[in-house]
Amino acid sequence: MNALALVLTVFVACVVEAVEALTIVLAAGLTREWRSTFQGMAVALLVLAAVVAAVGPALTLFPLGALRLVVGGLLAVFGLQWLRKAVLRASGYQNLHDEAGIYARQVAAAQAAATGGRNGVRDWYAFTLSFKGVLLEGLEVVFIAITFGDNQGNLGLAAVGAAAAVLVVAGVGVSARAPLARVPENIMKFAVGVMLTSFGTFWGAEGAGVRWPGNDAALLVIVPVIVAVSLGYTVVLRRSRVAALGAAERAL
């Protein structure tokens, strides 16, 4: 895996998660109170930094084979989750991720929630909403960045990809002051799902003792195969959905 692929994969994964976190932060900040929202975000970022500081160096202590077995397995499981969701959305079985709709729901909940401070925080609801949003979305980013970076022996480059994504999304979000509804999140989720599943498959099998034909070049086959199969599943599901809807309409 070259440096560009590493940075791009982490960057795209981080953009997807950062867009989701931004929606929650904007809903908390614009409807409740910015100071408590920023406090929640700052505490969540501190927790994430602590996780990176603790887990990152600890992973380097593991032998590479064992690391690839465990991390590869986790990445494959993670990737399958992302791909499953992306295929279900693309085939019409699940609604596309709608940042504007999610934002509207978060705003309504934030407006209805009780006011009041706690532990030196002026608005506890804004604090916890922002904290949970940033922490939960951030954990996925941290997991992807650490596992990809560590397997490639280049945590620094993975961190650059993650930081660039967060900065870009935060910059656009601050200037727009609105959820980024136009980001093609499903396509990005599909792409990241393919990369996570492909690399998870490659590293997991390698960790289990396999010697891939062509060594690293095997990835040049695995990635297109996963793309083709996922697109194939999408087409088949879309057709069967259209056929089922047609049959239902005819029955009426």
Binding site: L69, G72, V210, V225, I226
Partner: protein
Amino acid sequence: MSRWLRSVGAFWYDFIIGDDWRGAAVVLAALAGTAVAVHAAGVNAWWLMPVCVIAALGWSLRRATRGRS
């Protein structure tokens, strides 16, 4: 305390396993099968993981869409 443990467990389950545990089960079984094939039988079973991952995705999608339109 037990409520806290339950919620922590639920969080990690949702984080790692997600909506369908079958994907995780197939990946785990495929890795174990690959390791056994390589170390016990001396077979370089590089094909096992990709085949299982592709099958797991199809299985999970089929279960998620069965009876729905």
